[in-house]
């Protein structure tokens, strides 16, 4: 019994230390300071009218992350907040 409890305690400790390591590495979109970034509205405008429905835009590390729906598919689009280039698109299935 002691052994099981010790194992659990060890597992919990290991988990606490593993958590930061398991966090996904942040995508780098720009090195430019936030003052140089386009506004969230401007980011959304780049996509509206091209069949994208932009639900929300948020700052995610060095990227602007857009929650979009296109052709019924939900996706997260990470863009360079300075030039608007798409860095990564995660389609939700």
């Amino acid at each position: 019994m002691k052994r099981i409890i010790t194992a659990f305690a060890l597992a919990a400790t290991a988990a606490a230390f593993t958590a930061p390591a398991m966090a996904e590495e942040a995508i780098e979109c720009t090195k430019a300071p936030v003052e140089k970034w386009m506004s969230k509205d401007a980011a959304a405008k780049m996509f509206t009218g091209k069949g994208y429905q932009i639900r929300s835009v948020k700052k995610e590390d060095s990227c602007l992350e857009l929650y979009a729906i296109k052709d019924g598919k939900k996706m997260e689009i990470f863009i360079n907040p300075v030039d608007g280039k798409v860095i990564e698109t995660k389609v939700k299935n």
Binding site: A15, E24, R55, Y67, I69, K74
Partner: protein, 193 residues
């Protein structure tokens, strides 16, 4: 209720079981309650670990946890004696009085859940259910990108962590003050009479 009396029933002069001798215990936590408890522990740990970028794992874990909560709600109605909500859930007056007793060091021992533990179970079930529900809703088309929902989900999940800390503290405190190992009891299901 089954009672096991072990070979060594000899009592010391003081009337307490002799040290090293085995005590008379009864089964309090049924197997499903115990499996539920430790599965929930593992599930919540896994949900936390997978919350940053392990989306698929995180979602599957969330559905499993939701299933566990659903089971426990049902078991709280149709389960065995000590699993039933009616056996342990108490009103605010009794609960607050018991919390005060804990602070003044004269909280009574309960064979099943004590009123503070019962309140913790209700709080945990509620916050885990809220976390599951909001997490699931985040995948709905209607709520795609809804930041308020994400904040509610993360807030509820953080609240679980706070409750877990209090829960563990309560278990340690009750174990020390009543000289019994409640963690072991949640593994074996048995407590001394």
């Amino acid at each position: 209720m089954s009672i096991t009396a072990s070979q060594n029933q000899s009592l010391s002069a003081g009337g307490r079981p002799a040290t090293g001798g085995r005590e008379r215990t009864v089964r309090v936590w049924d197997p499903l309650v115990r499996i539920f408890h430790w599965s929930l522990v593992l599930g919540i740990a896994l949900a936390w670990l997978s919350s940053e970028g392990w989306d698929r794992t995180h979602e599957i874990t969330g559905y499993i946890i939701a299933g566990l909560i659903g089971f426990r709600l049902l078991w709280g109605i149709v389960g065995g004696k000590y699993a039933r909500f009616a056996q342990f859930v108490r009103g605010p007056r009794v609960t607050i009085a018991y919390l005060k007793d804990i602070l003044s060091g004269r909280a009574k021992r309960h064979l099943g859940h004590n009123p503070a533990g019962a309140a913790m179970i209700v709080a945990l079930l509620f916050s885990v259910a809220t976390t599951c529900m909001t997490g699931w809703m985040m995948s709905w088309d209607a709520f795609w990108g809804a930041q308020w929902l994400e904040e509610l989900h993360e807030g509820a999940a953080t609240f679980i962590l706070l409750l877990v800390g209090l829960h563990v503290a309560g278990v340690v405190h009750a174990s020390l003050s009543h000289r019994e190992n409640l963690v072991r009891a949640m593994f074996t299901g048995r407590k001394r009479l």
